[in-house]
Amino acid sequence: MVEKTQETKKSFQLPELRSEYIWAVTFIVFLIPTMIPLGTQVEMTPMTQEIYNNIQALKPGSIVLTGGAGVFSFMLENSPAFIAFLKQAARQHLRVVQLPLGIENVPFFKYCLEAAGVDESAGGPWKYGRDYVVLPYLPGGDPSRVSFLTDVKRTVNTDVYGTPLSQIQLMNDVKDAKSFAYWADASGTDIPSLARISVGMFNLPVIGFVHAYYYGVWSPYLTMYPGKMWFTNGIIGGAQYESLMNYSGLGHSGIDAYQLTSIYYFVLFALGNITMYARKEWKE
């Protein structure tokens, strides 16, 4: 026999949002900052300021090694900081050697170069062969990094276009790790290798333009090698570097979009919990 125990009453119920509606609003949230820049102010962090200062302190003609192994589309998150770095390097009359350790680093470097507008074809001060060189893709992982930093010309014979290194003006000043002032890596995935090899073995300091996720994962390296390793923090790091270079680029657009998305995150978080609790039946 079923006994009637308590009366129940339902409180106000919110319907569960369909994914399509959430996606539609997400699209609008991303569309707004692309059409109307929000001008988000980014707080500077000491790390990014230090990277800027370090590059600023280099003498004209110093050579910076760039490159790593990564996937182009993932490196887009690091590209704002790397583009700002290239602009600063060109302004300081530094020279750059790009060493692609992944196949897509070649087009990625070209993309960043074009976006920075530092090549003479875009009205910039850099000339290929004199101010920057792109080496060919170097497979082999860690052993190839060690080999390159030990003796550049025994490891690589030509540039990416097949021109012998002996015919390239910049490469006359490049012999080994001591020829470089820094290794600036925008791939975001190579930091453990670079810490071990570049800093640990060859004492070549590393500037890493890393993803926001990897910043947290690899921050112990900053304490392991103080004064030898620095990281920018994803899109926010890119926006910070752009602020230091007094322009507004992809980093600022990204941070505008992140500003709105993070608010949207809290809206969805609150809505999801309200929906769940509003569906509970209250018993008298």
Binding site: S19, V71, S73, Y213, V217
Partner: protein
């Protein structure tokens, strides 16, 4: 002569290998080790049953990497068993692989699974295994499309995954599939923890790969793995204690 800095590593490798072999042979002699139930394996069993009830396929994804990755091998072990159980009860398995070498092994495994389930006449090459392309997001979009087309009742993601897992797991939720995940990459694991119904965390993947074959001796070798964990934990604890006391004995030993 041992290389400088490698003696400790060699010693620990030999020790861990000895643990695995010793426990394997002890198990073969009849000892039964207590193994805590791995929840994800129970969910896999339930999900295959659910697939049979609903008349929908079960989907297995051994990850994006090739045979050189340990996770792929563990994923293939689990997928092989899932395929056999599915074939036995009349559920269609759908397998998606990314690397070309994994494709060949998966085809052979699925054929073996059907033969073992005494349904060899139902097997056709190319019918149960699909190649998605080696690129990460080509894999993700192919998987998403296949999920929406096949509407599996259960999806098993065990292998090497990266951020693409978010797309696949969300799509699986849209078709109402039970999802079981396993990966050691922390980003993928965080996503799986968010979205999947059950996950295999860290070394549970390798333990599950042994347990799912129902070979007691092999499952017993997991005990050897646990002995290795105990040694590692002991070294960590002693190392921290000695380090705090300013004694460098252990750290000097480790760089021998």
């Amino acid at each position: 002569m041992i290389k400088s800095g490698e003696a400790f590593a060699l010693m620990t490798l030999v020790l861990f290998a000895a643990f695995v072999v010793i426990t394997y042979y002890i198990s073969k002699r009849g000892k039964e080790w207590y193994m805590r139930p791995i929840e994800a394996l129970e969910v896999i069993d339930e999900s295959i049953g659910r697939s049979a009830e609903m008349g929908r396929p079960v989907m297995c994804l051994p990850g994006m990497s090739g045979l050189g990755n340990m996770l792929t091998l563990a994923g293939l072990s689990i997928c092989g068993e899932v395929n056999e159980r599915a074939a036995r009860i009349g559920v269609t398995p759908v397998n998606l692989v990314s690397a070309a070498d994994t494709l060949m092994v998966m085809e052979a495994m699925v054929k073996n699974a059907f033969v073992s389930a005494e349904k060899g006449e139902l097997y056709q090459p190319g019918k149960y295994v699909y190649w998605t392309g080696s690129e990460q997001f080509a894999y993700a979009t192919y998987v998403m499309g296949t999920i929406m087309k096949e509407k599996p009742a259960a999806i098993i993601f065990v292998g090497s995954f990266l951020s693409d897992i978010m797309m696949n797991t969300e799509t699986g939720k849209r078709v109402g599939a039970i999802e079981v995940g396993g990966c050691t990459d922390t980003t993928a694991m965080a996503t799986m923890a968010m979205v999947c119904d059950s996950i295999l965390i860290g070394e549970e993947i390798y333990a599950a790969a042994a347990v799912i074959t129902k070979d007691k001796a092999l499952a017993g070798s997991i005990a050897g793995q646990d002995w290795a964990f105990i040694v590692t934990l002991a070294l960590m604890t002693i190392g921290v204690a000695l380090g705090l006391a300013g004694i460098k004995l252990l750290s000097d030993l480790m760089v021998l």
